[in-house]
């Protein structure tokens, strides 16, 4: 009873791979002989749907596919080199890796996307949906229909629906096209908008519907773009805040004009590099080198700050011009010493995976991870600084010394000691800033010079001696800069901000948050 059905099934099972294998071997012709031939071969392999194409194409994408002079293809795997067709172990001598260019990569993305739509791994399917969306072609419509029917993960379903809509747009019949336009118009994705605009040029018949869909997307995008600009402003502000915070202590609280502040930031960044190199050989600690660099950078720069205060600055209290010149000179010496020790070349700081790529906040607001973490980090450091000044004995004595030195001394506070500690504290914060900046800027001996002017601007703009002023000043300048940038360009935006800050300080010389009372007059 069952036998005929079974035999039929068996026959089908045997026949399918046999037919696919033909398409597979035929698809391989020309692979590796030239960029165009390779791209065509990849297209054919993607269309073949053969499961054996997947490892081969993956190997090609990773640069592990080798080709021998006689045309034999080999795959380099963890276990050694294998023949791509027979899986037999092979000798790699004389084989050259098959080379890629962007044209081949585009073909590869499409082909891998098609093949991976049926993958059991959700991450693969997500990537496949993304790839098929980008390579969009009418042939993919039935494939995507089937994939959508199978899919259970909501995020992947959404991506698949987008890919299906984009592929429908490429179809020949107008009914399918309109379905695609409607589906894409319902999203709020800039990619969907780009696909629609691309289709407008080739489909004058449905241009009106496309315009409508684009307008709908634009409306939803406007809010998101405003949010992204705000985030960019906050991010720039957080960098300014980090750079200025140490200065808010040394200049704001102590009144020392420290032109070497930027060099302390740079020393912090180099400490990050040293910590990274030192932990490279310890697999357990290596991923944590960045967090571990924070205390290290604090200690190193605090020690430098203390040495500088005890050795030089204390002899020049009350002589701001001499202090300025002297610290400027020390800064140049630090810069050149680092250049001699580490070379003029930039040093590479590896970003941990959690600081790479883009994060989607609710409402599809795209923010880059490293900037987000630095924003959080700057607020944490600000909180810790405020707490240290407000709630610790060290902070209390520090405030006492800066407010009325003589009385503080008569209460038994060693004022000289406190000066050194305060300066070390401010320098240490600069070092911590260097750890964060190593993630977004070049770790080179010039790192600090770019930040010194901005730091002084923030502190003066916010109000000398006020940490709240530094916070508001940093974020205010960051956001104004980012709002101006699209209109004026990066160079002019900076000029405008500087002019605005100058005019503001003319009107309010004590900054946003002016200190009141005796301390301010002193």
């Amino acid at each position: 009873m069952k036998h005929p059905v079974l035999i039929l099934l068996l026959l089908c099972a045997l026949a399918l791979p046999a037919r696919a294998q033909d398409a597979f071997t035929a698809g391989l012709t020309g692979l590796g002989t030239g960029f165009n031939q390779t791209a065509e071969a990849v297209d054919r392999l993607g269309a073949s749907g053969d499961p054996r194409a997947l490892p081969l194409l993956r190997a090609l994408a990773d640069g592990r596919l080798l080709r021998q002079a006689d045309g034999t293809l080999l795959i380099r795997g963890d276990a050694g080199v294998q023949d791509a067709l027979t899986n037999a172990a092979a000798e790699a001598a004389g084989a050259e890796p098959v080379r890629l260019n962007n044209r081949v990569r585009v073909a590869l993305r499409g082909a891998l996307g098609r093949l991976q739509l049926v993958s059991p791994d959700p991450a693969d399917r997500q990537a496949a949906a993304e790839a098929v969306f980008r390579s969009r072609s009418a042939e993919n419509v039935p494939l995507l229909d089937a994939a959508l029917a199978r899919e259970t993960v909501p995020a992947i379903r959404a991506r698949l629906a987008l890919a299906l809509a984009a592929s429908r747009l490429m179809a020949d019949d107008p009914q399918n096209k309109l379905l695609g336009v409607t589906a894409l118009g319902a999203t709020s994705s800039p990619e969907a908008r780009a696909v629609l605009l691309e289709a407008r040029a080739t489909n004058p018949a449905i241009a009106a519907q496309i315009e409508e869909a684009v307008a709908a997307i634009d409306q939803r995008l406007a809010v998101r773009r405003a949010a992204e600009t705000l985030f960019q402003g906050l991010s720039l502000g957080s960098v300014l805040l980090l750079a200025a915070l140490g200065l808010a202590v040394t200049f704001g609280v102590m009144g020392v004009i420290n032109m070497a502040h930027g060099e302390f930031v740079m020393l912090g960044a180099y400490t990050t590099f040293i910590v990274q190199e030192a932990l490279r050989g310890i697999p357990m600690l290596a991923p944590w080198s960045l967090p571990l660099a924070v205390p290290a950078a604090f200690l190193v720069t605090a020690a430098c700050g203390a040495a500088m205060e005890r050795g030089l600055i204390r002899h020049l209290y009350g002589r701001p011009l001499e202090t300025l010149l002297m610290t400027f000179g020390v800064g140049m010496m630090i810069q050149q010493s680092v250049r001699l020790a580490f070379g003029a070349q930039n040093r590479e700081i590896i970003s941990p995976p959690w600081m790479q790529g883009t994060l989607m906040l609710p409402g599809e607001i795209a923010v880059t991870q490293n900037r987000l973490w630095i924003l959080v980090f700057s607020l944490v450091i600000l909180g810790l600084t405020v707490a240290a000044i407000r709630f610790t004995r060290f902070g209390l004595e520090m405030r006492a010394v800066t407010q009325k030195r003589a009385i503080a001394a008569s209460m038994g506070i060693r004022t000289g000691h406190m000066d050194a500690l305060t300066f070390a504290f401010g320098s240490g914060i600069a070092g911590i800033a260097g750890v964060a900046l190593s993630q977004i800027d070049n770790v080179s001996p010039n790192l600090g010079t770019g930040y010194i002017i901005d730091s002084f601007l923030v502190v003066v703009f916010g109000g000398v001696g006020s940490l709240a002023g530094t916070l508001v000043g940093a974020f205010g300048l960051g956001i104004i800069n980012k709002i101006l940038e699209p209109w004026a360009g990066a160079v002019l935006a900076k000029v405008f901000v500087l002019v605005a800050a100058m005019l503001f300080i003319q009107r309010k010389p004590r900054g946003l948050f002016a200190q009141k009372g005796r301390a301010a007059e002193a």
Binding site: L197, T229, Q345, N346, T368, S444, K482
Partner: protein, 414 residues
Amino acid sequence: MIHRMPITRRAALAGLGTALAAPAIRPSFAQAAPIKVGVLHSLSGTMAISETALRDTVLMMVEAQNAAGGILGRRLEAVVVDPASNWPLFAEKARELLAVSKVDVTFGCWTSVSRKSVLPVFEELNGLLFYPVQYEGEEESKNIFYTGAAPNQQAIPAVEYLMGADGGEAKRIALLGTDYVYPRTTNRILRAFLISKGIPESDIMEEYTPFGHSDWQGIVSRVKRFAGEGKKTAIVSTINGDANVPFYRELGNQGIKAEDIPCVAFSVGEEELAGIDTRPLVGHLAAWNYFMSVQSPANTQFKAMWQAYIKNPRRVTNDPMEATFTGFKMWAQAVAQAGTTSVDAVRTAMYGQKVEAPSGYTEEMHRNHHLSKPVMIGEVQADGQFNIVWKTPTAIPAENWSPFIPENANRRRG
């Protein structure tokens, strides 16, 4: 043991004797005054990242030339000064080299602004400068030999590649650059070129940033938006110096893949990539006249010579280093041919001078003071090297006066 001791001592004495006698072996060195070679590269400041390697290249060439017996039986002596990335200081240091040190030739400068600063000094004192970096053209001083590329040897072929089938048929171009003379002039030429190819003004975006710019998030997201108008977009970058590192990092973080928006750079070479994790950048492009990955006997020799000189087998070579190498060889040949180091005689001898360059081509110095050079497009690879995906079949002569700048229409050619 006891028997062997004197032998060792005798051997040592013999060695010492040879060492003492060495100067006497080449008596001509002791008699003639050395030929002085000025080196005018920034060893500190923002350009030190790029220029330090060029100083080392010149020193390597001087050492190699001396080992080969010098030129005209005279020893070469390098005079190194540091103009510290400070453009007016370049002019002062140039004057010092020419008037005080009395150098016979100078190798130097990277940025166009530094070259513009020293040009009047070299013309006034009739010095000889070899300038090894690609630049915007629009110059032809009789006192300067330009061994880097003119726009038609780099910028224009690169944009043509982006607009061709292999480059992705770009229809919209974002021109990003550092705010100084080289990017602004190059982009002016490119804009005229794009318009001549039928690209409307609205499909060209142009943005400039200061030297050392590090906050690229706004610009990169604007490029993304610019690319989201339904036409294939590409970035042409004339960003200079270390601002490139945060720029590429931002490209990677914002997920701009070379398949979607390829970026071709004119000032990013192997040396600049040394400070970046290049894995997210695979497929982005650079246009040069030489890549370290070139397969040629001259390049194999050049790389070995450099890594032996710098005592680091992992140090990379790049295009301006190759241009310095080629320029130095040509100068040495010209001096040998002229039989003197006099500037006017060497200049005349320079014309038509040919060198088998590490680029794998024979490069020739023409009467317009520029070299004929091959053009190559390379893709960034995960190991920080470039994979050459396109190159011209022959070395092409320079058009230092670009036909795309209207004011050049009245200029004579050839």
